[in-house]
Symmetry: C2
Subunit: 122 residues, 2 copies
DNA sequence: CAGGATCCTTTACGATACTG
DNA sequence: CAGTATCGTAAAGGATCCTG
């Protein structure tokens, strides 16, 4: 049950706000959603795949963001024993629980862009 | 219809990625989700209400973020003619389309926190 | 190939003080 | 009350080079 506070007769849910903060702090930064969104489509991807796939990201950022995601158990990292070593990244089961959120994020952005387009035609 | 690219036999949707970028650029920053989430609960709120309600925000950030949100037609601003002037902020109809997204964001964060709690008990 | 180290720029954010 | 102006800091992000 949510704890409530009352401000100027306006009931406000603190638990909800904390949820927003938590999610944002875990998914902060410019690239996490892109990485997750990409992994959501190509189930297992190498470092280079991600680097090529995510437009504009550099290896430093990619590496750092992947470490953050791994620490939070959203992404798993597997070192393959190939000649020059290779690493495979994929979503964990827990990472997959982000699908609805990322779907909403993408969906809203797509609709937003369409609404801009329409308003320019009128 | 979504445009697709193929990378290492992995089909990737660019439109989806662009949607993510668009949403993130509009809702970037530390406070936008908090502001929107708060307005989602208390339908009409004054500047001071928001300032008190959103823990940690300062008037400079609040004012700036509200302007961003207003520019993107997500929030409407109404000046009341009271003795010292007063301003009412509320979500536009378009801003309300963010409800599912923000709900997901809050929900995931709440569940995340619970999963941490459980894993500490075991 | 996968990433770490270094250096540098930019932006975000915050505290404080002030104004119509 | 609802902001704006100014200033300062910290964090985020990027370019480049380097290594097992």
């Amino acid at each position: 049950m949510s704890k409530k506070a009352v401000v100027n007769n306006t009931p406000v849910c603190q638990v909800r706000m904390q949820g927003i903060s938590d999610t944002m702090s875990i998914l902060s930064g410019k690239w996490k959603f892109h990485i997750l969104g990409t992994l959501m489509e190509g189930n297992k991807l190498g470092f280079m795949d991600l680097l090529r796939e995510i437009d504009g990201i550099g290896s430093k950022m990619l590496s750092k963001e992947l470490q953050d995601l791994e620490m939070n158990k959203l992404v798993s990292r597997t070192v393959m024993n190939t000649k020059p070593i290779t690493v495979q990244y994929s979503l964990t089961e827990y990472g997959k629980t982000l699908s609805p959120l990322i779907d909403e994020l993408a969906k809203w952005g797509i609709e937003y862009r369409q609404s801009i387009y329409k308003s320019k035609k009128n």
